[in-house]
């Protein structure tokens, strides 16, 4: 890392000096109150223009890529009363704004701001459609505000004597970018503008493919060499950490600034290039939570790339996240995505697989609780069936019924217009069709929570009620109804039994495959109101917290309200044999059928990353999961907060392994003084 980057990191990330330029917070509804009677599309344009026009340019002497947000409050489009009315009539997803999609930045970047404006003007003069002409004029208005802000930035750069920023932005006023610096500055302006219109969680996409031509141009012309490219990429990556305190999200870091590197084309060619390597290196150097890295891999990906990824994992930030092209692309094609689109997939804010520039998919519209269906069916039907097979048939019917009821509840979805974002959607400008009204793909993704809890519950029922017959259906049902107070010992036996997903037992593996396939089949029959499909997934997002709270005791010995695992992972209190069993179990089902996304998450203690040899072994473990047909994987190096929580709730952290010398132990099994010691050591590490 160069001194300049170090200085910038300290300025923006450690000291957060950009906050000195923030304007005061304002009444978020003030603008909405002046827009009574205006259409939603007009409101969206007015709001974005309002923010851009009120922005104050900030240029720092040390930067090459400018644009820093100063406005804290992005005004609402509707007053509180109007919003209440909308919410009663429509299904408003999250905040209502276009979010969690990936636009095709190259559409705008190839044409440039001025070029795009000319194109819109030409469309207006050749059209007699008043609606379209009005929409295009709104887009022109927005671009005028962007260009006007850019001019103010040029002036400010001149005053600050930052010639690089001045020249770069001045060039972009007239022309599309040619150099890497220009391309990154333009991206920065676009990204800034998207957030200014409160279009949040929209991802960066295929970073290495987007910028490769500009990088190549610079190399060929001798404008940049390897080390100066790295410095520039690092500055660009840093820019994602400038305004992030102002972004909406559940917590700091939950802002969807994820990018994708690598991937394979339809002929199987590896698209990972020298620029992908530079991006990886930049992230390794910077050690920052944004942007988050996703690596596209497949069974042909060389081990070296996993090793590089594992060096990143070692840093404890929880990425890269891996996605397996072999599984994802096939899964998306099976869902009806055209091969040329499926192959271009990216990862949404968390882990949903989406298509850049062509989709208004809502990949996180709702979540299905597997464990709830199993619990309900156990209480209602277990005492009336003669065999496990019969019981499983009823489970299938229950999943089908519950999934259909969930889909029935999703109707009248209304999304706020986003005319600026629409400029980066394939074919949308010519039609003057706002992205919020849909694109080529309008599919809804349904998360699936508590898969392990559901599978474990079924496996315990099979083992104890039908195979060993040491627990009767009535006893079990009574246990579920009384939160196991009727028979605590039975609850303990179910809870600490070996039949848990992640233990690579035949029973749990096949049951996991079975219920995922049942879930997929239930969704397959349905179309959503936008003529799209429903995409089943293995993710949980925050739903695992909500579903846990609502969920009564389950046949796996889990008590009422106790947390279910996040995403696609073993139950928290199961003690599984180890990581090899986990990856074998979780790669067993046909994951192409549940390709909305949702990673297997495994935790590895940071001391396992101690030397190059052990790092290579972790890389091999990851590669093995991918080669076995796993769809997506994230690895956490175990951190202090987890360990502290494990001290409070040891029963939830059975799988938490710590490396203590030449040996590993279960953290919860250590005496407290030793636990404290390890926690203290972790504070010192990294």
């Amino acid at each position: 890392m160069t001194e300049r980057i170090k200085e910038m990191k300290k300025f923006f990330v450690t000291d957060k000096r950009q906050k000195e330029s923030w304007q005061n917070k304002t009444d978020q509804y003030a603008l909405a109150r002046t827009m009574t009677g205006k259409s939603d599309i007009d409101r969206a344009a007015i709001r974005l223009k309002f923010v851009l026009d009120n922005e104050t340019p900030v240029v720092y002497p040390f930067e090459k890529i400018a644009f820093t947000r100063t406005i804290q409050t992005i005004p609402e489009l509707f007053t509180e009363e109007e919003m209440q009315e909308l919410s009663s009539k429509f299904h408003i997803h999250e905040k209502g704004d276009v979010c969690n999609i990936n636009v095709d930045y190259s559409i705008l970047m190839k044409a440039g701001f001025a070029g795009t404006k000319q194109k819109l003007e030409a469309l207006i003069s050749n059209s007699s459609d008043e609606r379209k002409k009005h929409y295009w004029s709104l887009q022109i208005d927005i671009l005028d505000s962007v260009l006007s802000l850019m001019k103010r930035y040029v002036k400010k750069a001149e005053e600050t004597n930052n010639i690089t920023v001045r020249d770069t932005i001045e060039y972009l006023l007239e022309k599309p970018p040619v150099t890497l610096l220009q391309a990154m500055q333009m991206f920065r302006i676009i990204h800034f503008t998207m957030w200014a219109g409160r279009n949040y969680h929209n991802t960066i996409g295929r970073f290495d493919q987007l910028f490769y031509p500009d990088y190549k141009h610079d190399l060929d012309c001798g404008v940049l060499h390897d080390s100066s490219t790295l410095e520039l990429v690092e500055e660009f990556c840093l820019s994602f950490n400038r305004d992030s305190d102002l972004y909406p999200g559940m917590q700091q870091g939950d802002n969807g600034q994820s990018l994708v590197l690598g991937g394979y084309d339809l002929d199987g060619n590896d698209m990972y290039n020298e620029f992908s390597d530079i991006a990886m290196q930049a992230s390794l150097d910077l050690h920052l939570i944004d942007p988050k890295i996703n690596l596209r891999v497949n069974s042909k990906t060389p081990l070296d790339r996993y090793i590089l990824g594992t060096h990143m994992t070692k840093q404890g930030l929880g990425f890269p996240q891996y996605s397996n092209d072999d599984v994802v692309v096939k899964g998306l094609i099976d869902l009806g995505y055209r091969p040329e689109d499926a192959i271009n997939y990216v990862v949404a804010a968390c882990w949903e697989f989406i298509i850049p520039g062509k989709a208004m998919d809502i990949p996180n519209i709702a979540a299905f609780s597997f464990a709830e269906s199993i619990r309900k069916n156990t209480i209602e039907n277990l005492s009336n069936v003669k065999s496990f097979k019969e019981f499983l048939n009823l489970v299938d019917m229950q999943i089908n019924k519950d999934a259909n009821a969930l889909l029935d509840s999703i109707k009248e979805v209304y999304i706020f217009p986003a005319p600026f974002i629409t400029l980066m959607i394939d074919g949308a400008v010519e039609k003057a069709k706002d992205i919020s009204l849909g694109a080529d793909y309008n599919n809804y993704g349904i998360h699936g929570t508590g898969i392990a809890t559901a599978v474990d519950s079924l496996a315990e029922i099979k083992e104890h009620v039908f195979d060993k017959k040491d627990i009767t259906a009535e006893e079990l049902i009574k246990g579920l109804e009384t939160n196991f107070e009727s028979n605590e010992r039975m609850g303990n036996i179910l809870r600490y039994d070996k039949e848990k997903l992640g233990n690579d037992t035949e029973s749990t593996n096949t049951l996991a495959a079975h219920i995922l396939s049942t879930f997929a089949a239930a969704l397959k029959e349905r179309k959503n109101e936008r003529d799209g499909i429903y995409r089943p997934g293995t993710g949980s997002a925050m739903y695992y917290i909500w579903h846990s709270a609502e969920l009564g005791a389950t046949p796996d010995g889990r008590k009422k309200g106790e947390v279910i695992p996040a995403n696609y992972s073993p139950s928290l209190f199961s003690r599984v044999d180890g990581p090899v069993s986990i990856i074998k179990s979780f790669a067993y089902p046909d994951l192409t059928k549940v390709i909305n996304g949702g990673p297997l998450t495994i935790e590895i203690h940071d001391t396992v990353f101690r030397n190059d040899e052990s790092i290579e072994k972790v890389a091999r473990l990851i590669k093995t999961y991918i080669d076995l047909g796993g769809h997506q994987l994230q690895i956490n190096t175990v951190n202090r907060d987890t360990l502290l929580d494990a001290q409070k709730h040891p029963e939830n952290y059975r799988n938490l392994i710590v490396r203590v010398w030449g040996w590993s132990g279960y953290f919860v099994e250590l005496d407290k003084c030793y636990q404290d010691h390890i926690i203290a050591r972790i504070e010192l590490a990294v």
């Binding site: 473990l621 040891p650 029963e651 099994e669 407290k672």
Partner: protein
């Protein structure tokens, strides 16, 4: 058919030899190293282990115990514990069954340059069992982690069936070895000679115990002994970690490190080996 007794099979062991490995922990050890972190490995028989650290003292276990003063391993208390803190460490297993168990995932380990490692306890204590087991798996890379404390006949018989030997040399001085560990190291050093002149790759490990094994004298004697070993891959130094006593309470014992001060940091000296052209790393 021989039966053995094991107390754990650990998947994805990354510090027990090359590649991805599965490590089998055999119960029972003839030595009594005061820094031993695996007390359940010392005793040869199965035993009850309780994670007292998380115990909420609900006494449900006591309520069902038929023999409170002397555990008879009936296992009745185990399902009573709401936190699942009780288990029996030690499983009697045949070589055939152990082979079946490790074969389940062996393709993954093989594909990733690894295999199996025998550890303990002291695996050589169950030599008949491990010989039978090793003879069943000629196709798998086999390593051992041993103190080297075994008769030459036993040692040589097991040695010939292995691909890699990871052996400790804790204290070189015979009297000091006997004083601290309670056993003479003549057999250990004889077996280490075998490694020095043998045709199999080996690793020497030194646990760094402050004031005992990290002395200049011990370093110097070990490094001089190892000089000229043809197949020594490297020397691994394992610094003493204060959590070594964590499992004693679980087996109803008190950890009382004698002869050394566990709060002291050990002296790490890799140069002494490097100077003699041996690789040396700290684990």
């Amino acid at each position: 058919m021989k039966s053995g007794i094991i107390f754990d099979i650990k998947q994805f062991a990354v510090f027990d030899g090359p590649g991805m490995r599965e490590t089998i922990f055999l119960k029972g050890c003839p030595l009594h190293c005061p820094w031993c972190h695996n007390p359940e490995g010392q005793i040869a028989d199965p035993m009850l282990m309780v994670s007292y650290a998380a115990c909420i003292h609900c006494e449900r276990c006591s309520a069902v115990c038929p023999s409170p003063d002397d555990c008879i391993l009936c296992g009745r208390c185990i399902p009573e514990c709401p936190l699942g803190l009780r288990r029996i460490a030690g499983e009697v297993i045949t070589a055939q069954e152990l082979e079946k168990r490790i074969r389940k995932d062996i393709d993954i380990y093989k594909e990733n340059g690894g295999g199996i490692t025998l550890s303990g306890g002291e695996p050589l204590m169950q030599h008949d069992f491990i010989i039978e087991f090793l003879d069943r798996i000629p196709d798998i890379h086999k390593a051992i982690e041993t103190s080297g404390y075994a008769s030459p006949e036993v040692y040589d018989a097991v040695y010939s069936r292995l691909d890699l030997i990871i052996q400790d040399i804790k204290i070189f001085d015979t009297h000091e070895h006997e004083r601290i560990i309670g056993a003479d190291n003549t057999m250990i050093l004889r077996n280490a000679e075998k490694l020095k002149h043998g045709d199999k790759p080996f690793i020497i490990r030194i646990p760094l115990i402050p004031g005992i094994t990290d002395t200049e004298k011990n370093y110097s004697q070990i490094s001089s002994f190892l000089q000229g070993s043809r197949n020594l891959m490297r020397v691994e130094l394992l610094p003493y970690v204060k959590a070594a006593g964590a499992k004693y309470q679980m087996v109803g014992r008190k950890y009382e490190p004698v002869f050394f001060n566990p709060e002291q940091d050990p002296v790490i000296n890799t140069e002494i080996f490097e100077k003699r052209n041996m690789r040396c790393i700290v684990l």
